[in-house]
Symmetry: C2
Subunit: 143 residues, 2 copies
């Protein structure tokens, strides 16, 4: 199987297959006489594995770990589970962050008339934001 067929079979672009090869995520593919990479079912399965893991948001280092566990028939499932759970925690953290952003914006949008007038709580928030702009009344500056 050459790279194009492996690409179709795995759903990973030829670009990315070469890249994974280059960074050592998969073992360097064997080559034909004329220097073409050649792939077998096993390697295609690895590519599919990577594709699926990427689609679940795993980082490349995580995938490196997962791949080596996957190759190891003696692995303790504990280790796989630990990686997955850590990743879930990271996802949850990022979700919470974005949720906070979205909620803030929803609130501001809700308060914004959205008509022809220029007054806009959204811009007001961006202006002042978390920093209270300048106190201006310099003598009694709190904090």
């Amino acid at each position: 199987m050459n790279i194009g067929q492996a690409s179709k079979a795995s759903g990973v672009s030829t670009k990315m297959i070469r890249y994974y090869d280059e960074i050592g995520l998969v073992r360097p593919a064997s080559r034909t006489e004329s220097n073409y990479r050649e792939f077998d079912e096993r390697e295609v399965n690895e590519l599919r594995f990577i594709r699926r893991a990427r689609s679940l948001g795993f980082s490349m280092p995580e995938i490196t770990q997962l791949l080596s566990l996957w190759r190891d028939r003696e692995r303790p499932s504990r280790e796989v589970k630990a990686i997955a759970e850590k990743h879930v925690r990271e996802l949850d953290a990022r979700i919470a962050e974005m949720q906070t952003m979205a909620d803030t914006l929803r609130h501001l949008s809700h308060c914004c008339a959205g008509d022809d007038r220029p007054d806009c709580p959204i811009l007001a928030d961006l202006t002042g934001g978390s920093q209270p702009a300048e106190p201006k009344a310099a003598h009694g500056r709190r904090r």
Copy 2:
């Protein structure tokens, strides 16, 4: 005010201030005789604006739009609101995507014993994933 002071006052790194300058997000700062950039309160406010908008997840193109609306005292708040709402929709979409990933992984984790044994539904999913691997038993392939 030179770039270092503007950076402290705005919370934007000098690196990023120069970058925003370079890509034209803020107007090129005026220069002293010795080619130092100089900033006034108004420019520092713009930098704060950008920082706050970044922290709400707006992209640079969106911030470009927001900044120009912010500078325009005649803007209709409608336009600001539209940008914010579009961004909220994008955030929600990305949140939903990540939520799906997290839920999938939570389910798989839940099904994984997480002990010394090698059997692992997480790896099994990554192997077969959405693609049913190869049917192998070729005659009766469901779906």
